[in-house]
Amino acid sequence: MLEIRGIYKSYEVQPLLQNIFFLVGTGETICLLGPSGSGKSTFLRMIAGLESPDAGQILWDGNDLASTPSHLRDFGLVFQDYALFPHLNVFDNVSFGLKMKHWKSNEIKTRVVEVLELVNLRGFDLREVTDLSGGEQQRVALARALAPRPRLLMFDEPLGALDRALREDLLNELRGILHRTQIPAIYVTHDQDEAFTIADRVLLLHKGQIVQAGTPADVWSRPNSVWVAQFLGLGNVVEGKIVNGNKVETRVGIFSIMCDRQHRTGEIVHLLVRPLEAENEANQIRRHVADVIFQQDRFKVTLDNGLYFYLKDEPKIGQMLEIKVKMECLQ
């Protein structure tokens, strides 16, 4: 089990990561989700032992890894641009880690065939890695990391360089492989679709801090800040002022809210207005349609007050629209 305790790291006096705590259990896949520049990659490299934290501990089964050099940690790392060895063919790339562990050559052969099969690259042994497509290269990189049976697998935006369809396929395969092998994994990405597909637990990283953690469903249904709601693109975020108990006044109207905690009158709150029409809601918005964009299975409709919604049927621009909405309280 991997345990991260109070990691702190600065870069040119600016704090890059601060106060990071979390656990990765057996068979669990954790996803670090955050915009570029949020320190995700640096963090992975610290776990891998390629960089050291300014403060805090990284433990494996309770043992501090600070004095364990990178090559003895037994943590596999898959890079965004694969980092395959250009002078070695597929077999030699995949068997690299096994040779480092002094496996016997017949065991190496069996294992390479096994992992190549696992990543759907049967028979690719003798190909040059420079001749492979992006997706194939990524599979080789994955096979290479899997081959020595690492205690932990780490992925640094592994699908960032691939096109969308390929990304989805590979993601599903990866999910299957992680599930079957039960290797704990940390997956770093800025793409929420990827994160929600692969992760058992998502950690949202913002300005070097974990701002929210939970299962994908948790995070999706209960965003705990304006930043999370906006970063995940959950819907319209509206600022409002509490006027009277559970009533809130905003620039788009006065609504009633249900909130976990009581608010004082006059307090400023932020509301999330999800872009889907809600059933059985008292809150209603009545505005003219300003813009309609066709989006395959739905229409993105923008009203003249700036709020947007997804509708099944196409309204006309200028038409008056009545939409029932749920007002969720953020923070």
């Binding site: 490299r45 891998a48 032992g49 943590f75 395959l84 060895f85 070695l88 690299f96 480092m100 020595p148």
Partner: protein
Amino acid sequence: MKSMTSRRILLWLAPLAFLGILFFYPFFRILAFGLNFNTLKSNNLQLAFHVLLFTFYQASLSTLLTLLIGLPSAYLFAHFDFHGKSLLRALTTVPFMLPTVVVAAGFNALLGPRGWINLTFMHLFSLSNPPIQFVSTLGAILLAHVFYNTTIVIRIVSNALSRLDPKLEQAARSLGANERRVWWNVTLPMLRPSILAASLLVFLFDFTSFGVILLLGGPTFATLEVEIYIQALQMLNLPVAALLAFIQLLCTLAFSILYTRISTRVTVQSAPRSAYQHKANNIREKVFVLAFCVLLFTFFIFPMLALPLRSVTRLAADRGQQTQVHYGLTTDYYTELFINRRNSLFYVPPINAALNSLGYAGATVILSLLLGFPAASALAKPGFFEKFLDPILILPLGASAVTLALGFIIAFGRLLISPWLVPLAHTLVALPFVIRALQPAIASIPDRLRQAATTLGASPLHVWQNVDWPILSRATLSAATFAFTISLGEFGATLLLARPDYPTIPIAIYNFLSQPGDLNYGQAMAMATLLMALTTAGILFIEKQRLPGMGEF
């Protein structure tokens, strides 16, 4: 951050110490020696002015002639597709790296008093004296310079030409410009920076040329380089030599700066390389291609062919019986290399010279790799320091070999007894080439590759063994070959620094060439042939290792 800085300092320590002691210290000694009231006298300055004038004169003339051959050749290579093109290209490239003694010996074998052409004429017309006076003329110097440097013009200009976007010329045509106007108003202006850069580089090489002028021109044609040598070793007038060396350094520095400025303007457009090339399809083009192919082929193959042929042919026209020439193939000149015929104290058999050369070359390879690796590693990931240190490393390239050697003599006069100064000087000359050969290869290994190996369980040693070395080995081999061939053929610095009892191959060739008699001449030819074979093999090897897309100069 801190550890990075200390690592950089560690990397730079040896190369900078080496340059400091062996380049900058001697350089300042030259300054101190050459620039004082005793040397800055009117007769010295007059001599300097005279020599400088001639140096400029011959360099300008050589450059013009080189352009005359080089520009049409560049056009030929950029525009046309013909049989034997790659062979012709290789043929024009090889001379650039041949040792000066080999080129001098080659021209001597072709046009010298004992060369093929003169002997043929003497035989045909029963002449008693060689009819063509080639050696010791300005023509010989110019011809050898053109032979050396045409490849520079071809490479730089044909590269620029073939990268010009043909759409620009098509656009000009569609706007109503005829062929000539397109050339004058579109093509030529876009080529100007590369032509200028090529000319400057050629001029720089002609300006600092030493071996060619000494061996083919003789002492009457004293350029700065030759005069430094004469003043230092024959007149034993070190202060005047230092004054001349200072002028030389100023000039080369100015040209180098100018060259760097211009070469940054040589823009690289990424039009497909072969977009332009086609077979000659009208009579005018066919004549042009054929004429230039023949011209280039003859010009480049004859001196290189004359030399080895002459080394196995007895064509002696001995004194007294000049009309009677003995013919025949012979290996005498080669077997003679292993015999010490004159039991003189100062005579060193050629085989010893060869052994010295190999020893010096080996030492140069080791030294320049030991110094080149850390410097190239630091330069591969340039930081704050490297912006300043990069040009410093290249400086010795601008200083001529003779100047470097003069600096050694002035700075370490007492140490001259040590034969070690020769490989040190060779290392100084070879180091910039070694660094340039290693740096792109080191830079081509991304850190992530090493990190990937590390996370797969490779210790730092294993990372070096399995990742760095396999990728670097090719570049290291070509860097080593560079150092080896440079050391093997180095003439200028060696002539000033080598002790008489430790000559190298080029020095031995020089000695043989300057002594009378057919046997001496033949031995010079034989040694030069061996040296040519060795260096040509080295050059071809480096060319083969060159990664695609790497810089030309």
